[in-house]
Symmetry: C2
Subunit: 312 residues, 2 copies
């Protein structure tokens, strides 16, 4: 018999909630604004009362509900302990115990990047693969490792932190994390803009990018697709470092597939093709010919993955 | 009740065999020369008849023997399929099926680097840790990933191939694998000698290394310990690249402990201290303060780990 589970994705601005059948069908989804008050306790109360209301509204039986999975934008320990998240106004607490007390339902929590990876592996581009790396290219670069169909959290909850892989020892700018030459400095949206501005300054050739008031990662991709050489070189450079980083990941965990998501991945196949080209230059022979795919669940990956936590 | 298992380590020159109690006690160990004839079939026959003889000699009951674990110097698939290993004169075959037919015992096989890692995790320096990376610094650089107490083989059997992590994009020499800037080019015994020779050529300062007829990794460590500046700089450079590589590994799998073994690790604590120093420079804040240990099982790690395969 198919059972039901809720998947919750707690983000900085919005909380997303989905109701799923255990076969992976998304039945309903909702979202509401994140309340950063009361040490984060208000977020939990909002989630609990929202779930309780929906159970009543749809006349769901408690025995058919497997529980509530929750993705959190920070490290979560195996027992559900969440460390302080100042960005969200959250103090340290055990999210599983607290939400269980509020809802009477089984709760499972995970880090948002890991949970998004699990979502793509369950019902997205990673479907059918047991071992994958999900790469999220947004303002920063995040990652999640799925091995044998399960999230690898890591002993400090920091597995899959591929945004801070060292890929360039010659870099002079510093990454937000304090290190130098992190993958995030090249392959994030911010990183692509940084590379473009740097190139436009050091390179005297003409470029349609010079006519823009404001350069975004999307505009660099768009101009590259329309034939602008400087833009194309910037994209190639970003993909070089991403390919190099993924080659190093492959030498450690040897996954079947790399799934690339996040805002930057909207650029489409140009991204996976260039990353694959550079990956193959930097990886050892027996690890060539991996599969590179674009993520397909978009912003829903988190609710899919957190629901999936209940089915492990 | 304690049961028994055999651990076999098939190497290029010798086959090592250990008889273990399931609590990890090594009762007996033996070795004999590897016979590279008859497509590797002779090795299997030798192993099977050796094990059978020992069972008779010690009057062991078949029901108290859990089986025979075997470490192989190449990739082994999950079903026991071994790919061709020209170095050993081995054709492709299923080692588990063939040895089961020859012995009537349960057989489990794994890659030698992975099995050595499992051995150290079971009864060596990794005891008490569930997530570790074992690094073997010998002629080359090998590695094995243990997650949740089990080997991570990887989808192509190439997980933990950290010798071919890219750590230096500015390198001009080529690695044996065909790539450029692999960790093995710096942190293996061969790599340390290469770095020393290069340094002695490009640097005009005096060095006690210049008096040697033949430089080995051991001599570079010895001269560094005795205060030779050039030797110390070479060791520091090797450890810099190793620390950098391990920082990247940590960002992917976030292990609890790094265990360093192989001939080069006989240099002792100078190695773990320098590697840790450089690791902390290259890793993100939440991944600092990992544990770095020297391996303690030496050449026996393989028989320990292959015996452990039966207990999973």
């Amino acid at each position: 018999m198919n059972q039901l589970c809720f998947g919750v994705d707690i983000g900085g601005t919005a909380v997303k909630i989905g109701l799923f059948r255990s076969d992976g069908t998304l039945l309903h989804k909702w979202s509401f604004a994140t309340k950063r008050t009361n040490d984060g306790k208000d977020i939990l109360r909002d989630v609990a009362s929202f779930v309780t209301e929906k159970i009543e509204e749809y006349h769901l039986k408690k025995e058919e509900i497997l529980g509530v999975g929750v993705g959190i934008p920070g490290p979560v320990k195996e027992d559900g302990e969440v460390l302080e998240l100042p960005n969200l106004g959250l103090a340290s607490f055990n999210i599983e115990t607290e939400l269980e007390n509020l809802t009477g339902l089984k709760i499972k929590a995970g880090n948002d990047a890991n949970v998004a990876a699990l979502g793509e592996q369950w019902q997205g581009s990673g479907k059918g693969f047991k071992n994958m790396l999900m790469i999220t290219l947004g303002t920063g670069v995040g990652g999640g490792v799925i091995l044998n169909g399960k999230i690898l959290p890591g002993s400090n909850g920091a597995a899959g932190e591929i945004g801070h892989l060292l890929v360039n020892t010659e870099e002079t700018d510093r990454c937000g994390c304090g290190k130098i030459g992190c993958l995030e400095q090249y392959a994030s949206a911010t990183g692509i803009v940084r590379l473009a501005k740097r190139k436009l300054k050091s390179d005297t050739r003409g470029s349609s990018l010079r006519d823009l008031q404001d350069i975004s990662a999307k505009s660099v991709f768009d101009h590259a697709k329309r034939g602008d050489i400087i833009a194309a070189e910037v994209i190639d450079q970003a993909c070089k470092y991403l390919g190099m980083g993924l080659a190093n990941v492959a030498q450690v965990i040897d996954p079947e597939v790399f799934v690339i998501g996040g805002g930057v991945s909207k650029a489409g196949n140009i991204l996976t093709e260039l990353v694959e080209k550079h990956y193959n230059r930097y990886v050892m022979a027996s690890l060539k010919s991996k599969i590179f795919k674009l993520a397909i669940l978009g912003n829903d990956a988190g609710i899919y993955g957190s629901a999936r936590l209940l089915l492990e």
